[in-house]
Structure formats: structure tokens, C-alpha cells
Symmetry: C2
Subunit: 394 residues, 2 copies
């Protein structure tokens, strides 16, 4: 079923207490060395950054959001343009999500923040039933129905290499009873997604199953076993990961329990540096998050431990007055094009003067930062010194 | 006085009726092959475009506006950061204007449009007298006085290679009497600029004189003779160029009359394709204009004659519905990074979806377009077939 795809585990952890691993996902558009970070190109474009710049900073894979592209310009349109790769000019591996996350997180209102970050777009969830989810499009207000079959059809038309089953994404505040009911329905939706995928499969795509089950160990285990017992290419861990960092790691650990670890494992929506180290040690292969590119648009530049102010956040805010006369690059040991020629003072000035270049320059640093982080994590796994790598980055 | 600078005329027109020429301006930051186009990086940044992207598209020289940088962040600040080159990361030749144009065009109100395009920033001219021009800063409303000495001091602190004498820039609707009075004062200001330049000269900069005189042949000639009889490195043609295209060429021709043609000649604020051909044939060496990068931010992509819709404008507006399904690049024979991977349809979509990448992608095309235009003009002069080159581009 996945003849043009493969996942090879190149090396397992040398440490008995942790499960980090080196791997390689092969897709028709190239290989992904794992652990890897997937950058968000929500609307078929990583905001303000060209595919050339993504390549120059060693980006392996980007994702687009089905929800946004379904709303505008539509998947039939993108198919007519030759699919996402040709349309967007990115010829490397691509990933699309199922479209469910945006609908449900918007539908559940402000609790979207509890799951994984702020809202994008403004939409309204009208109804969830066995068939699927009815919502009002953020783009034009039209009423749309997204079903498992429709999600797979749309993702098939978009044409990313790695695509995801349709599920309901529940937030933290949902009770145990609803969580179970929703999880069971998600499993039925995932089976329908798989059936639709098989019907349409032409060898260009591979399908992820999603583990749901909220913060409940028994549900997470049941969901992991469901996904592992069906012929998905890979697994994504979705749904709420709890309300605290510690709970997040517990939930991920629960979800790993019962998973087929011969498949690639993706952790949806997580992109903090320390979170990535924790995830990698639990056996996660890929991560995605809007964080690195989103904070760039607000002046946030990711920095390693040595460069943090007050050592609290994983980034510095270049809008702050303290950078006004700072002639250093964001990071003196960074090999990105931004750190090669721009000072913090210049970036601070560009932000104050509302010059567009600031957004591009900081985003490029953050993208290179994340790719370099993943490169060093992979080297740390190979060399058996991941903890030393972590102490440099966290 | 200009020991680190030189201008070599490499070839004169082979055609008796026209005065185009090939040249080379040498500056401490590199050479400029002329005829050349100077791109606007108003606030020490070409909007949304990095110095790498400027180099990749064969950009030779950029300019920054003294008025904007004087208002914010201030030239003393930029000097403390190591000057404009170091601060902005652009290590090639740079040009600054005197700051006068913005003050006077804003001061003369809506007639700014008559001179050379729309306003940038919002300021108020309070007073012009022999000393200089008093105005309210667009940045913080503070009252500032710009004099010839101050303009040179500011430009010295900014540190561009090529700098310009302070003059009054008069619009088209000003009468002959005021034009003469203003021109004579401009000449006195230019002498003061030159004196201040000589006092501060440390070999890193070269000074332009400016020809004024409005639309009056006798004044233009007098002004050209004034400039040519003083030890400026080069000459810029400023002030109003009339109210029609035809008048513009007449005024430029008048200004050329009496000029020392051994010096480089710059035509301020002109960047249309056919205007550049006309200017080149009159003997102009360099041009500058915000047009190529400004229209990009509104979806305007420069195109050669063969690609124009209805053959009226020198650009196409990619926001138009007719490009929605157009899978061609902006220009099929363009060697820019944008035309290599993006279709008109994708750029149209990015504009509609308000994705930042559109601005960068179209600006890169327009920058490469202008540089390629100037490359072909130079080849056309070398080969003696400028008219053939023109028929392809206009």
C-alpha cells in the first residue's frame, strides 16, 4: 500500500531509560532524517519565506493546513494547478493535516488555547455528528461539511506526501465521558478515512492514524492500539496533552504505550525546545508547530540557553529597548544568513520602523535554529550524548 | 579630493544622433557599471528584500533617504553602529540623497505628485529661508532645521559612498520668478554643501551637485554651468521635469546642455522603462526610483512588451482575476528566482490570501527585471543596437 514510502530506524537509543531514535522517512519527494521538525506553511506558503530560503536553511519538510486551503482557494483549484508541490514551488516532502483541528478548536471556543496555541482564522463550528463536522467557513461564511471521506478527498487533491486521518480534536476541559464518546467516533472516522484513502491510493501519499483519548491513560492506550492495529503508514499523537508541561509528557508517554513503534510517530503542534527534547526521548520522530515562524513576526528570535535574557523564555524579544545598541547578531555562533550580516540593533530598528525585512530576517533565523537543533539532536543520538546537546539548547 | 573614486567612460555612442555611453563608477565599496539603476532602500532597507537577494539579482547599488534616517533613528545612531553599510548588511556601493526632496515635496503639498510620485511619510514644511528648511518630523512631530551643512553632516555620519548637495526641489506649478530665486539659493546651498564636504572629507565619499532651473532652458543651462564649474564628483538632475513625458525629455536635454559630461550624470526619481531608454540616449548614467519595488507591494510585476496586457502599462497587476488560472511565470524568459518556481496563479493567490511571500516574490522579479534591463542596455550600447534592445523592452 505504501510502496513508494518507507521508514527505517537507523539507530535506537543507547540509553536504557530513554527511547530516542534516529530514523529516515522516504517519500516520493525526498527523505526526511528524523527526529525532524515540520514547519507550518498554513496557506501553501511559509509566511514571508520562499522555498529557496527554506532549502538554504536545510528545511526537510513543510506542512499546509487542509482547513485553510479547503476554505480558499479550494483543493480542486490546487489540483488543477498541479497540486501543492507544483503550486507552491516547494519540491520537498509535504504534510497536510486533516482539517479537523481548526474546526474543532474554533468550535470549542477560547479553549483552543488550551490545546496548542492561538486561533487562526475565525470560523464557527455548527454541528458534529456521526457524519462529520459542519462549520461556517472563515473565508466567505459559507456552510461546509467536512467528513472523513471529504478530508481524504481534499488531501488527495492537495497532493502532500504525508496526509492525516480525520478525527475530532478535544480540548482539555472536556469531561471523561465526552472524551470516550469522541474518541470512539474518531476511531470510526479514522477507519472511514483509511477506506477512502485505499480507494484513492495511487502510490503518491501515505496516511497517518491519530491517537486520541485526552488525558486518560486507559483511553490513550486503547486509541494507540486501535491505530496500531490498522494499516496506517505512521501515527500522530493528537488531542489535548493536558494543562501543564509535566502532564504533557505523561500524556505523550501514555500514548506511546501500545503504539507500533516500527512506524514514524508525529507529535502534533509541539515546538518548544525543551518539549522537543522530552518528546525525542519518549521516541517521537517528528514535530510541527507554528511557534518558530509566528514569534518571528512579533520580533521573537529563538536562542540557545547561553543567549537568553533572565533564562526564562526560549526566545528574546528584539523589540525590547535593550537591543537598541546591541551590535551582536542574534546568536554569535549561529550559521544562518541573518546572523551572518544583521545585528540585533538593526533588527530592533527594522521592527520599530515597521520594515518588512525584519519579519523575513528573524523567521529565517528561527527556521535555521530549529533545523540546526534537530541536526544536533540527531548527532547527539548517534554519538550517545543527547543530554549534553540538551544542556546547550535548553 | 576624490582619490578613492573614479568615473571612466568606456564607450561613447556610435550613433551621432544619441549620446548613450558605457561607463564605470569606482567607489570604495565596489564598481558600478553604467547605465545603472539605483534601488530605493528608503529606511536603510529595500522593503522586504535582504542584501543577499539584492546580490543574487545582480544589484549594483542602493540608496537610502537622508530625510527618513535623519528623522529616525538619526545619523549619529547609525554612525555609532558603524555606518549604513555595516548597519544594513549591504556592502556594495550606496547613495544617499540630501533630504531636501521629501521636505520640499511635502511642504509644497499635493503637488509633490507632480514631481515624481506619491508622498512618503507625513511631514510639514514650516519655513524656507537662506539658512535652510525648518520642518516638523514625520516621525515624532519635533521641529527640525535642515541646512546644507547639516545635510552633509548627516550624510557623512550615514556614510554612503555617493552623497548629494542640499538644494530646494521645486514643483511644476511654481512660477518663473520663484524658480529663479530658488535656483540661485540652491546654488548658494550647493556651495555651502561643497565647503562642508571638503571640511569633512576623509576619502570615503564623493559629492554630487544638482542641476535645478525648472522647465526654463536658460535656467537649466545656467544651473548646469554652475554645477560643472564647481568640483563636484558627479551631477544629478533634479527639480521638476515638467508636466508631460515629452516635456520631461526636453527638460533633461536642457539640463544636459552645459554639463561637464566627463562626470557621471544621475537623473533623480525616474524609473519607467521607456523613460530610462530616453534618458540613456540623452547621456544619463544612473537612475533611481521607488517604482519597481513599490508597485510590487501592490501586485504589480514589470514585464517586457510581449507580456503586457493591452500594451499600455509597463507592468501587469497580478491581483486581476485574469491571472487566477495562469500557470505561466510572470515572464517565461525571465531568469529571476521568482519566475523559476512561481506561477502567476500562485502569486495571484498569495495576494488574494494576503500572504507576505507575494511581496517578496514580486519585488525580486522587479529588481531582477530592472537589473537585466540595464544589463541589456549596456550590451546594446556596446553592440551598437540599443534600438533593437528598446523594441524588446518597450
Amino acid at each position: 500500500m505504501y510502496k513508494n514510502f518507507s521508514f527505517n530506524i537507523l539507530q535506537q537509543s543507547k540509553n536504557l531509560k530513554t527511547n530516542e531514535r534516529l530514523g529516515k522517512i522516504v517519500t516520493p519527494h525526498g527523505e526526511i532524517q528524523t527526529p525532524a521538525f515540520i514547519f507550518c506553511g498554513t496557506k501553501a506558503s511559509v509566511k514571508g519565506i520562499s522555498p529557496y530560503q527554506l532549502k538554504e536553511t536545510n528545511t526537510q519538510i513543510i506542512l499546509s493546513n487542509t482547513y485553510h486551503l479547503f476554505s480558499y482557494p479550494g483543493s480542486a483549484y490546487i489540483k488543477a494547478r498541479g497540486g501543492l508541490h507544483k503550486f507552491s514551488g516547494w519540491n520537498g516532502p509535504m504534510f497536510t493535516d486533516s482539517g479537523g483541528f481548526q474546526i474543532f478548536s474554533l468550535g470549542h471556543g477560547s479553549v483552543a488555547d488550551e490545546i496548542k496555541g492561538r486561533r487562526s482564522g475565525i470560523s464557527t463550528l455548527a454541528k458534529i455528528d456521526e457524519e462529520g463536522a459542519t462549520f461556517k467557513s472563515y473565508w466567505d461564511g459559507s456552510v461546509q461539511l467536512l467528513t472523513p471521506e471529504k478530508s481524504i478527498e481534499v488531501q488527495h487533491e492537495l497532493g502532500a506526501d504525508l496526509i492525516v486521518s480525520f478525527d475530532e480534536c478535544t480540548p482539555y476541559h472536556i469531561d471523561k465521558k465526552y472524551t470516550e464518546k469522541s474518541m470512539e467516533r474518531s476511531h470510526r472516522w479514522e477507519k472511514r478515512s483509511l477506506n477512502e484513502f485505499i480507494k484513492r491510493n495511487n502510490g503518491t501519499q501515505a496516511l497517518y492514524g491519530i491517537v486520541q483519548g485526552g488525558i486518560y491513560p486507559d483511553f490513550r492506550k486503547r486509541s494507540a492500539e486501535f491505530v496500531s492495529s490498522h494499516p496506517f503508514f505512521a501515527t500522530a499523537i493528537g488531542g489535548t496533552l493536558g494543562s501543564t508541561k509535566e502532564q504533557m509528557y505523561e500524556v505523550v508517554e501514555m500514548a506511546m504505550n501500545g503504539l507500533d513503534i516500527r512506524r514514524p510517530i508525529h507529535l502534533l503542534g509541539i515546538g518548544g525546545i525543551s518539549d522537543i527534547f522530552r518528546g525525542v526521548k519518549l521516541g517521537i520522530d517528528t514535530f510541527d508547530c507554528v511557534h518558530p515562524t509566528r514569534i518571528a513576526r512579533h520580533g521573537g528570535a529563538l536562542v540557545k540557553a547561553a543567549y537568553r535574557d533572565h533564562n526564562l523564555r526560549e526566545h528574546i524579544n528584539l523589540k525590547k529597548a535593550e537591543y537598541r545598541n546591541d551590535d551582536n547578531p542574534i546568536e554569535i555562533d549561529c550559521d544562518c544568513p541573518t546572523c551572518a550580516i544583521f545585528s540585533r540593533a538593526y533588527l530592533h530598528y527594522l521592527l520599530k520602523a515597521k520594515e518588512l525585512l525584519a519579519l523575513q530576517a528573524i523567521a529565517i533565523h528561527n527556521i535555521r535554529f530549529m533545523n540546526k537543533l534537530m541536526e544536533e539532536i540527531r548527532r547527539g543520538i548517534a554519538d550517545g550524548n543527547l543530554t549534553e546537546v540538551e544542556s546547550k539548547w535548553c
